[in-house]
């Protein structure tokens, strides 16, 4: 066991506080729900804090650190597009201002209002597939991280996964999803302390000069210059930046867990303000973990599994007590991320896919009891699937690219439909179907191709997906307007 009794005690106390506060806050659950629905949304600082907590889990640190470990300083480029996308959307109100004015509450709702119910079902199916494949690697990666940090032998990975998922279910039961606002506050305190401490203490232990020397020795100019050998040839060159910027603009406006913060804010200005300042926070969310990966390379050498480098370094450099504090913060962060992802993806599968198909076939509304059974059933199926996928699916190439590409199954089509539906009067459902379908090909190609092609062509397939989706929107809409003209339903 790598953790000391002090570390274990800190983790135990922290988890008890989280579960106990969740239990005590249960009576406020309905109150908070009503509160948010009533439009009296949480304050700006609390909103910012809550957004960061939802979007940080153990897996976030693992995939960023892997990039730093495998590519050196150039991987820091990955932190910029998301920051720029938040600032761009926050400052300009691109898409979100119009969605807010249309009083749209969810993105699928936009699809059914602007295009058709069929388009909504189609994007719902792709969202469920992409989201569950994305979520499918979480348990394996995080259980490995926990096992490395605690010293639990590798063969117990299945047990770690099951214990984690049971904890998530308990957390959700004890009012976790809603009282998360309170626990987020506590969680963010630990997470932010951990992020700053690991960076400063890591530099102190490993040495700045040693870190720079390691990168130059291992990678040469390729580890420092993102445009080496040319702007278009590097893994993190211009193509990567363009792809990532488009991806994150779509992510901000189309990923329900993020965009709901805008939809529930009292006016679009408050939402835009949260987005703008999130840009700065998201820059650090990427830069610091990538840098930890580089520190791991300097400290452990290049022979370690890149997905395990961060956890192995942390156990070796962090002093007793601090390790427990950071581990507690990470566990709590992952539980809230798990809970929200499990609910989001299983509810999309239940409501936007299964319920819609049953309604289309039978022509009747489902009773709330049946809906509840379907929701619970999909949650069980998703849980079993992610355990199976984690055990048997081997990740090739960067974990970061895998996660982005599974999201790409629906993201290019979503962005093309949002831009077309909001800013182009001639867009229509044929354009929407074509955009979604064409945007689907590059990520499927990526998921099927072997390494080293995955890493070499990821960026091209990434921006190519968006290009195809936008072309699909233009060509499909034009085709429909020429052969069967009909304007779209809503007043733009």
């Amino acid at each position: 066991m790598l953790l000391s009794y002090l570390d274990l005690a800190i983790i135990a106390v922290y988890l008890i506080i989280i579960f106990y506060s969740g239990y005590k806050m249960k009576k406020y659950v309905t109150g908070i729900g009503d509160h948010l629905v009533a439009g009296r949304s949480m304050g700006y600082h609390l909103g910012l804090l809550s957004m960061m907590c939802t979007e940080i889990g153990m897996i976030t640190y693992v995939y960023y650190a892997e990039m730093g470990y495998k590519a050196g300083f150039v991987a820091l480029v990955a932190a910029f597009p998301i920051a720029l996308a938040f600032i761009f959307v926050g400052k300009t109100g691109f898409i979100i201002k119009k969605l807010h004015a249309m009083k749209i509450m969810t993105v699928p709702e936009f699809f059914s209002v602007t295009f058709s119910k069929g388009v909504r079902l189609y994007i719902g199916i792709l969202m469920a597939v992409g989201g569950i494949l994305n979520f499918g690697v979480f348990p394996g990666v995080e259980a490995t991280f926990i096992n490395n940090m605690t010293g639990i032998p590798r063969e117990y990975i299945l047990i770690t996964m099951v214990v984690m998922l049971v904890m998530v279910l308990l957390y959700t039961l004890f009012g976790g999803m809603v009282s998360v606002i309170l626990t987020n506050y506590l969680q963010y305190g630990l997470l932010s302390f951990g992020m700053v401490f690991i960076t400063v203490y890591g530099i102190y232990v490993i040495g700045w000069g040693n870190i720079i020397d390691t990168v130059t020795t291992n990678f040469g100019e390729k580890g420092l210059n993102p445009f080496f050998p040319s702007g278009t040839q590097g893994e993190f060159g211009i193509g990567f930046i363009v792809w990532q910027f488009l991806f994150y603009v779509a992510f901000i406006v189309g990923w329900q867990a993020v965009s709901m913060r805008l939809f529930s804010s009292k006016d679009s200005k408050t939402g835009q303000r949260i987005y703008t300042w999130s840009g700065l926070m998201f820059l650090a969310r990427g830069v610091l973990p990538v840098f930890w990966g580089i520190m791991a390379l300097a400290y452990l050498g290049s022979d370690v599994n890149s997905l395990e480098a961060l956890s192995l370094m942390l156990t070796k450099i962090l002093p007793g007590g601090i390790l427990g504090l950071i581990m507690a913060g990470l566990l709590a962060a992952s539980m809230s991320t798990y809970a929200s992802y499990l609910l989001s993806w299983s509810s999309i599968l239940a409501q936007d896919v299964i319920d819609t198909i049953i309604k289309m076939i039978t022509g009747k509304e489902l009773s709330s009891k049946t809906q509840l059974y379907i929701n619970r059933g999909t949650m069980v199926v998703v849980t079993l699937f992610i355990i199976w996928w984690s055990l048997f699916h081997e990740i090739e190439g960067y974990l970061y690219f895998y996660l982005n590409m599974t999201g790409m199954i629906f993201i290019p089509g979503t962005l093309a439909c949002l831009v077309g539906g909001i800013y182009w009067k001639k867009s229509n459902k044929v354009g929407a179907y074509t955009a979604i379908t064409l945007g689907l090909f590059p990520p499927i190609l990526y998921l099927l191709m072997p390494e080293p092609f995955k890493t070499t062509y990821a960026s091209t397939l990434g921006w190519g997906g968006f290009l195809l989706a936008f072309l699909g929107m233009i060509i499909g809409s034009w085709f429909k307007n020429v052969f069967s003209p009909q304007t779209i339903k809503i007043e733009k």
Partner: protein
């Protein structure tokens, strides 16, 4: 290559400082917002209980 080393150093230091500053700010200013929110929820629950009693 030195210019890249300087650039990435600035990026890391800037991220670390801005993140520390922003974290202190959201934690410091978020606490009164949290208390205010729970206060308002308590009032909502109390008024609803009163309405249902009436």
């Amino acid at each position: 290559m030195n210019e890249y080393v300087i650039f990435w150093t600035v990026v890391i230091v800037f991220s670390l400082i801005s993140f520390t500053f922003m974290s202190f700010k959201v934690l410091f200013k978020g606490w009164p917002e949290l208390l205010e929110m729970f206060d308002s929820i308590k009032k909502d629950i109390a008024s609803r209980t009163k309405e249902s009693e009436e």
